[in-house]
């Protein structure tokens, strides 16, 4: 029943070549401590699935851990484009599949519902259908309308960061849920990182904010500030100063390497110190 793990155990459990769905949304509640742990290791060749991606995709691309990305969006919002994603797209150093926000949800939901596809009108009239052959046009069997068949997305692993979790894998999300419940349900194995581990009794007090249920969860990692430098509402905001540092570092190979050795190849505990330590983070990021 006790599913508590360390970051290193999670890394060992995820083989190279795995398909990994990652929760959160652009600069919000990305499981960054788990992502850094994966970025720090040797093997990669991961196939990522994200709905609205950001630094997690960019960091894994920048550390050469990714062979393919399914995405509706990858970016840093008003802070700028995702530099490593942009480079990989432009230099074609990885494969990319253009999806959309709802179709990623529908692809995951198809796996949850145990059907090979779900139908939608979304994507008709756009070039998403032109560049992504995974989608098929078909005639609906009731009225003969032309629809898009969204194929099931089948992640081996899901990584999701939550506010609170109990050791059994129930998880509380207090801010926007993004597509995290779908990721957790659709993946064969789901790993949560959590700002804090609490007892099952305490967790139950959160009612409908208990959005992740343990029957879908295989591992739980305690990770205070685990979403940094993305935000984790309502606890802390995205660290935009660090986003600037990241974007500046990504401009040249030398600065990028320096960034990675300072922040990524260190163990998670040191990361918090490297970015200023808990007190400074509280001071600058808590609302």
């Amino acid at each position: 029943m006790n599913k508590l793990m360390r970051h290193t155990e999670v890394v060992d459990a995820i083989p190279a070549g795995s398909t990994i769905a990652i929760g959160g949304s652009s600069l919000s509640r990305k499981p960054m401590s788990l992502v850094r742990a994966l970025a720090a290791r040797g093997a990669g060749d991961f196939r990522l699935i994200v709905d609205v991606g950001g630094p997690e995709v960019d960091l894994l691309l920048g550390t050469h851990k990714v062979s393919r990305v399914v995405y509706a969006f990858v970016g840093f919002e008003i802070m700028g484009l995702a530099p490593n994603f942009r480079r990989a797209r432009e230099q074609q150093t990885a494969e990319f599949e253009e999806w959309t926000e709802f179709t990623v949800m529908a692809g995951l939901d198809a796996t949850v519902k145990s059907v090979p596809f779900l139908p939608t009108h979304a994507g008709l009239g756009t070039d998403v259908l032109t560049v992504n052959p995974s989608f098929r046009l078909f005639e609906d069997p009731i009225g003969g309308e032309t629809l898009v068949a969204v194929p099931a997305l089948k992640p081996d692993f899901a990584l999701v960061h939550v506010n609170l979790a109990d050791p059994f894998g129930n998880g509380v999300i207090l801010g926007d849920g993004h597509v995290d419940v779908l990721c957790a349900k659709a993946a064969r194995h789901t790993i949560l990182s959590a700002e804090r581990i609490v007892s099952p009794e305490e967790l139950q007090r959160y009612g409908r904010d208990v959005q992740i249920h343990r029957i879908h969860v295989d591992g739980v990692v305690e990770a205070a500030w685990g979403a940094h430098f993305t935000g984790c509402a309502p606890y802390y905001r995205a660290d935009l100063a660090h986003v600037q540092e990241y974007l500046a570092a990504a401009r040249t190979p030398a600065t990028w390497e320096a960034y990675c050795s300072r922040y990524v190849t260190d163990v998670p505990a040191d990361y918090i110190l490297a970015v200023g330590g808990p007190e400074e983070l509280v001071g600058k990021l808590e609302v």
Binding site: L81, L124, G125
Partner: protein, 283 residues
Amino acid sequence: MDYSVDELMITAMARELAGEVMVSSVTSLGALSAYLAKRTHAPELAVLSTPESGMEVTPMPTLTLGQFMTDAQQGIPLTMEDIFDAIFLDRFRIWINPAQIDRFGNVNITAIGPWASPRVAMVGSRGIPEDTSHLSAILYYVTNHSPRTVVERVDFRSGAGYGSERDRLLGQRGAPTRLVTNLGVFDFRGPDHSLSVVSLHPGVSREQVQEATAFPLSFAAEVYETPVPSESDLAIIRASDPLEVRKLEFLGGREAAERLVQIYERERQAMRAALWQNRGRFR
């Protein structure tokens, strides 16, 4: 009373919003136009405080940063399923700010150059394909109207404009209805549903807007001057956005980011005060 172009655009955008629909706040101009509409002619709007959640924030937030910060805001929490259900049911509005929009209202936020080997890889199509296949009002704005943003043909159709595919597969569902730029207000009632000038902002000439557009523009039979914001419009906008996040959308990317980081800390202080009383149910 003096106004700036951002305020003029926000006022023009607000006029397009009405009805009991969710309005998402991905950008500051979009959010402010929703707040303004709600406080003037459209109190029934269900304005979100993040793009995915925070419906019915009471009182209105005085801060206009969108989702990407995902600060906690009061209001009714929604799910992504709620958002897309509202889109499919045509009970959703969003002001979309594309990198390119073309003559027939196709829009691009995905790639400059060919998709597979782009000159500039942008961000992906996000949820625009869902909007442009379902909503009865599709609303675009562009802060720097130029031949590079209002183009003959987009490099990639992230959102479906008019054309043969629409005719065959979608009909009017999700067709583009409005474009507001720093020069004027447009619809798609030109020949074959092409872009057409509805109104020009004060001081903007027909020649000027044509020059800023990569293809020959149509003009409505009567092109009027875009109404300027009233004093009360301006008061609402400025009270809602005291830190002037709205100005950032008119700056270059890096400059905007730097200004934002400064505003961000000031905003945090303000938010801290505003939210403190409601923090009980968290931690």
